[in-house]
Assembly symmetry: C2
DNA sequence: TATTGTTATACTCTATAACTATA
DNA sequence: TATAGTTATAGAGTATAACAATA
C-alpha cells in the first residue's frame, strides 16, 4: 500500500507554496506598477547575464514575443533603455537605468520582507539550511544560483 | 547599500522553483489526462476535509465556478461521484470513487518521483530539514500540513 | 431573502505563427 | 537564406456576474 499523501510531498508543497508566495510578491509589486515577470527581467539585466532580447528570452524560458511586451512596459516606466546594437542592427540591447535599479532595489526589499514572514516560525539553523537547500535546488534546475 | 540580490531571496526561489516543479508535475499528469488543480481536488476529497463544492472552493482558494468545471471533468473520468445532499438539496456532495483513488495514488507516485529528483543532490539530513521546514511553512500559510 | 451550484462572459497571461528589417 | 525583433492571433486558466433551484 502507498499511504504517502500527495499533500505531504515536496513537489506539492513547492508548487502550492510557490503560488502563494508569488501572489504575495505580486500584491506588493502593484505599488510600483510592476508584475513578477517584469521584475524578473530587471534582475536578468542587473546580473549582466544577457542583454539582447533573444538571449533574455532564452534565459527566462519565455517566448521572445513576451520579452517585447515586458520591455515595452519597462521602457514606458523609464526602467530600461532600448538601443540598437550598432554592430548588428537587428539586435536590441536593453540596459537598466538608475530608475530601473531603484525599482529593482525596492522589489528586492519587498521580497526580503516576505522572506522574514516566511522564516518567522523557523529556528535560525533551520532557516539557514532551508536557504542553502533552496539555493542548491535552484542551481540544479536552471535558476540563478547566486 | 542593499547588495542583496532578488534572485537569492527565498521568495524568488520559492516562486520560480514552484513554477518549474508544477510544470514538471503537470507534464507527468498528462498520462492520466489530469491537470494539477484536478488532482488537488482529488486530494481534498481524500483528506475528508470537505465534501460540498462550496466548501471545496473555500479550501482551495478558488472560485466556486471553477470547482464546477473541475468536478465535471473528474466525473467524466469516473474519478468522483456527484450526489445531491438529501438533507439540503442545494448541495452537491462529491466523493472519490475507486478509480479516483487509483488516479490519486498514481499522481502521488509521480510527485514522489519528482521529490527524488529534487533531493538527489542534497545530503540526507539536509533533505530531512528541508522537508520539515516546508511542512511548517505550508501549515503557516493555509496549506495542508500533514 | 439567503445560499448553493451553474452558466455566460470577460480578463490575464503567454505561446505560436506571420511579418519586417537586417545580416 | 537565416536571424532578431515585432505584431497579430489564439489558447489556457481562472474570475466575476447573472441566473436557477432550494432553503
Amino acid at each position: 500500500m502507498n499511504d504517502v499523501k500527495l499533500t505531504s510531498t515536496l513537489a506539492f508543497r513547492l508548487g502550492t507554496l510557490g503560488a502563494v508566495v508569488t501572489e504575495r510578491f505580486s500584491a506588493r509589486l502593484t505599488a510600483h506598477d510592476l508584475k513578477p515577470k517584469q521584475v524578473g527581467l530587471l534582475a536578468v539585466l542587473d546580473s549582466g547575464a544577457a542583454a539582447s532580447q533573444l538571449d533574455i528570452a532564452k534565459l527566462m524560458n519565455v517566448a521572445p514575443s513576451l520579452v517585447v511586451s515586458l520591455a515595452d512596459r519597462l521602457e514606458e516606466l523609464g526602467a530600461v533603455r532600448r538601443e540598437r546594437d550598432p554592430s548588428d542592427r537587428r539586435r536590441q540591447t536593453l540596459t537598466l537605468t538608475a530608475r530601473g535599479r531603484d525599482l529593482l532595489s525596492a522589489c528586492t526589499e519587498a521580497a526580503a520582507e516576505i522572506d522574514a514572514e516566511l522564516t518567522e516560525g523557523l529556528g535560525p539553523e533551520e532557516a539557514e539550511v532551508l536557504r542553502g537547500a533552496m539555493r542548491k535546488l535552484a542551481g540544479r534546475h536552471g535558476l540563478p544560483a547566486d
